[in-house]
């Protein structure tokens, strides 16, 4: 009989110990949670401690609802709290965006001399995306004639994309050169926006922007 009573007391003691530990843990966690919301920690602790009193469980339950839906001090000054209480300098109002640059509408110019000494000036712009350089008389608006025997018919193609110029050789007999370097048909289109001269056959042309 004595063993059973001792076991019963032991179980009760163990249960009580568990209950006390659980209760302390609850109180501690309640303290931390309300503190994170910006309230004094003792309010959470007190709410849990209330369950020990005659008011029982219903008051802490009501307090839980109040806590969930009340205004939290954390939400009132989140910026000041993040900065450790120090006032945070207010950012100056954003400047207005700078006016958008006007699109560059200037055309390009290819200038040079033919073999017979006559000056040649070819103008083109972005009104057409491709311009044909040929030795034959121009049949279409986007064709530029270079009346020289060394220039094939057609010889090369100019490509205009915004502010950039491309050049592609069309299998010309006497070749196309960009700043002295041979451009072969298999090279495809090369960007010549930044170069100074191109040569078609024996005709050297300087590339420049119209004023």
């Amino acid at each position: 009989m004595g063993t059973e009573i001792a076991a019963l007391f032991g179980l009760a003691g163990l249960t009580s110990a568990f209950a006390i530990v659980a209760f302390m843990l609850f109180a501690w966690m309640a303290w931390r949670i309300v503190a994170k919301a910006g309230l004094p920690g003792w309010t959470g602790l007190g709410a849990v401690l209330l369950t020990l009193t005659a008011v029982g469980t219903i008051v802490p339950l009501i307090l839980l609802w109040v806590f969930a839906f009340m205004r939290w001090p954390r939400d009132e000054a989140p910026v000041a709290a993040l900065a450790g209480g120090r006032p945070v300098p207010v950012a100056p109002p954003a400047l207005a965006a700078p006016p958008k640059a006007l699109p560059d509408k200037r055309g390009w110019r290819l200038a040079g001399k033919l073999a017979d000494g006559t000056a040649l000036q070819l103008g083109f712009d972005d009104s057409a995306s491709t311009w044909l350089l040929t030795g034959a008389p121009a049949a279409k608006p986007a064709e530029l004639t270079i009346a020289d025997a060394s220039v094939s018919q057609p010889h090369a193609r100019l490509m205009v994309a915004g502010t950039r110029i491309g050049l592609a050789d069309l299998g010309s007999a006497n070749g196309t050169f960009i700043d002295g370097a041979r451009l072969l048909p298999e090279h495809g289109a090369r960007d010549i926006t930044a170069i100074r001269t191109i040569r078609l056959g024996t005709v050297e042309l300087a590339l420049s922007r119209n004023a």
């Binding site: 931390r32 949670i33 910006g38 954390r74 450790g84």
Partner: protein, 87 residues
């Protein structure tokens, strides 16, 4: 007596019936109590920056409330916490 009874002792059926009923009441009571806890806890979790679904841990008997409280108490709140000074 031609009537076939499942129970050897007829009054045992009452006991099982009452037992089942009590279990059902216990289950519904648990759900109701959990719901009373879940609604505010859902709100608290959401305000802390966690998913409100964490509050469904209250449905787990005994340890569920501990777990959800521990998450709130020891986790870093994604939505920010009050300053260290007041803790």
């Amino acid at each position: 007596m031609s009537e076939v009874t499942f129970f050897l002792l007829p009054w045992l059926a009452w006991l099982v019936g009452i037992g089942s009923f009590l279990l059902l009441i216990l289950f519904i009571g648990h759900l109701l109590l959990a719901l009373i806890l879940i609604i505010p806890t859902w709100k608290i979790c959401a305000r802390a920056g966690y998913s409100g679904a964490w509050s469904l841990l209250h449905l787990v008997p005994f340890v569920g409330s501990f777990i959800v409280m521990a998450i709130l108490a020891f986790g870093d709140w994604p939505n920010g916490e009050a300053g260290e000074g007041s803790r």
